[in-house]
């Protein structure tokens, strides 16, 4: 079988996260693939609606939940709109998992801070559930999540779950003007809320994903809180085609994001030219 041949997967659940963002739950149609498929938090895949082409997303569900994978995407182009047109029972393509992963082994015993903006919660959510499914292996868990408006928050039911848990500190925020009358969370940009939450940097790691502007202003806050750049991780979302280190699309300086990434520490990012 050639490298570019996808597995067939069946859509088993569809969740509308926001007006334009949707989560698909997928099951492998081939029972032997379903049985053997495994991945690590942070890896990605190529998802395709036949006729519209492939698109690259992280696997948004955690590897601790077996039997399915999920992807969350915003319908912005031809392929994502075609995926949005699929319903429960429909068949699509998936190939992966590709790329490296978050260093969860190294994070064991440490406190974790998850910081996400908008749809950037998708890859972070995979790590969060991986950690919460193995809760005793990790220290304090803090989540700071923000979106432009209340309507743009994704995984709303899971935010409620996390808010209700006593072993998770959840800070939710929306940009000023994005609140609704019944909004009880914070109002302000993510970096400011991280500063307010002030998670300890003592034996701690941070995982950050969101719009470039959010990451840009969050990294100095983490540095100020005492997080060394080697303990701050993010995942790059470069345009990709093959996912296999062949097609030449995802270079950032010397790295192939699809093979050397997509997960990088802030220390590694600082070594790269600003081309992402």
């Amino acid at each position: 079988m050639n490298l570019y041949q996808p597995h067939l997967v069946r859509v088993t659940d569809v969740v509308d996260e926001t007006a334009d963002t949707r989560t698909l739950r997928l099951q492998f149609k081939d029972p032997s693939v379903a049985e053997s498929f495994d991945f690590r938090a942070g890896q990605f895949g190529e998802y395709s609606a036949f006729g519209a082409g492939e698109c690259t997303f992280c696997i948004a569900s955690p590897p601790t939940r077996k039997g399915y994978i999920e992807c969350t995407f915003k319908a912005v182009g031809k392929a994502t709109n075609a995926l949005r047109g699929l319903g429960v029972g429909d068949t699509m393509g998936f190939r992966g998992p590709y790329g490296n992963h978050f260093p969860l082994d190294r994070m064991e015993g440490a406190s974790l801070v998850f910081i996400a903006g908008g749809i950037g919660l998708a890859p972070v959510r995979c790590v969060i559930w991986n950690v919460l499914d193995q809760r005793d292996r990790y220290g304090d868990v803090t989540i700071v999540y923000g979106a432009r408006s209340v309507g743009d928050l994704v995984y709303k039911h899971e935010l409620e779950d996390w808010a209700a848990r006593t072993d998770v500190r959840l800070w939710q925020t929306v940009d000023p003007g994005g609140q609704t009358p019944d909004w009880h969370g914070e109002i302000g940009f993510v970096p400011a809320i991280v500063e307010k939450a002030a998670p300890t940097a003592d034996n701690a790691y941070a995982v950050v994903c969101g719009p470039p502007i959010m990451i840009k202003f969050t990294l100095p806050v983490l540095a100020k809180l005492g997080f060394p750049p080697e303990r701050v991780y993010t995942t790059l979302e470069n345009r990709m085609k093959c996912g296999l280190g062949k097609c030449g699309r995802c270079n950032v300086g010397p790295v192939y994001v699809c093979k050397d990434g997509p997960v990088f520490s802030a220390a590694e990012l600082a070594q790269l030219p600003a081309e992402f």
Partner: protein, 349 residues
């Protein structure tokens, strides 16, 4: 390496033998008086071994400009996939340019690291490459500046060197030896008179300071040079299209009616703005300078970093094809001078 001899008549007979046995034969052919192209031939008379440079490189025999990756068919909400074969008919390339044959070997690195591209290696396995020692084409050739040579055997299974009555045949690989063994009557021992000199050569340029160029590239990401060179770059990607080592590709679905279609890979180029354009509208390489820089860096910094050698075999096609007259050797020379002079050469910002 063994050296044998083949007359031109026997080379024609060998070609006929191969074609008769069902082997595909690709060779430089006359596309017009002025243009040569690598094409599949049906007769030795079509083969052009006069040393003229095929307009495009040999890479398209292994990475076609467009090729199917799979076919799909939908019926009642279900999808059926049809795989494409990864084994290919036996093929002989007759008269490959040494720079083109070397390029295929250079590309084996990226096609084989970690994930093995079976479409590439399927064609590689099925193909025997007979290179033709090169008399040099014009003063845009620079194989000798990037580690190659007009007599390079790299990527070749056999090397033909033209002499008065035929060709010396240098056996490079076991695959080349197998071709000889299968057609023993076509090859003979070297004539007693020994090697006969070929015609005068075009002087080959000396080596470029590739190490210094690489170091300079890695530390001058924001140098004004990139803006200056991009002012005369159309972003057309002709350089990448004719390049024997540029291998970037796109993957697209092409519907054929409402219920079926083909997923294909097509050549692509880092010189267009859409190459890296995100769905959000963000483009990490937002101007032509950044895109021009990427092509240079991929060839002379990124590829050496990953695979230990430059992604260029000095064929000179990019300079011949460029409608704006960009000359890669001239540019590398400038970068070499900037590197040697610690970046003090004047650049128009």
């Amino acid at each position: 390496m063994d050296t044998l001899f083949i007359t031109r008549e026997n080379l024609a007979a060998l070609t006929a033998d191969l074609l008769a046995s069902g082997t595909h034969v690709a060779a430089p052919t006359r596309a017009s008086d002025a243009q040569t192209e690598y094409r599949y031939v049906t007769d030795f008379a079509q083969v052009r071994l006069d040393g003229s440079m095929p307009r495009r490189s040999l890479k398209e025999l292994f990475l076609p400009p467009t090729e199917p990756l799979l076919r799909w068919r939908q019926h009642q909400g279900d999808v059926e996939l049809q795989e494409v074969p990864t084994s290919f008919p036996p093929t002989v390339v007759l008269g490959a340019r040494p720079c083109d044959a070397a390029a295929v070997d250079v590309l084996d690195r990226v096609m084989g690291w970690d994930y093995r591209d079976e479409l590439w290696f399927g064609r590689r396995a099925a193909t025997t490459v007979i290179s033709l020692a090169c008399p040099g084409v014009d003063d845009l050739c620079f194989c000798s500046a990037v580690g190659g040579s007009p007599e390079s055997t790299r990527g070749a299974d056999l090397l033909l060197t033209p002499v008065t009555d035929g060709y010396h045949v240098t056996v490079v690989t076991d695959k080349g030896r197998s071709l000889l063994s299968a057609h023993p009557s076509r090859f003979g021992a070297l004539p007693a008179s020994g090697p006969l000199p070929a015609g005068p050569r075009i002087p080959a340029p000396g080596p470029l300071p590739l190490g210094q160029i690489r170091t300079w590239l890695e530390s001058n990401f924001d140098h004004p040079l990139w803006h200056e060179v991009a002012l005369r770059c159309h972003g057309c990607g002709a350089c990448a299209s004719v390049c024997p080592t540029c291998h970037c590709f796109d993957i697209v679905d092409e519907p054929e009616g409402v219920d079926r279609g083909t997923r294909r890979r097509n050549w692509d180029t880092c010189q267009t703005s859409v190459f890296t354009l995100h769905a959000s509208g963000h483009n990490p390489r937002h101007d032509q300078g950044a895109r021009f820089r990427q092509r240079l860096m991929h060839k002379f910094s990124i590829y050496p970093d990953k695979f230990g050698e430059v992604l260029c075999t000095g064929c000179g096609r990019c300079a011949r094809a460029c409608p704006a007259g960009q000359d890669i050797v001239e540019l590398l020379g400038r970068i070499g001078a900037l590197a040697a002079g610690n970046g003090h050469e004047k650049v128009e910002a």
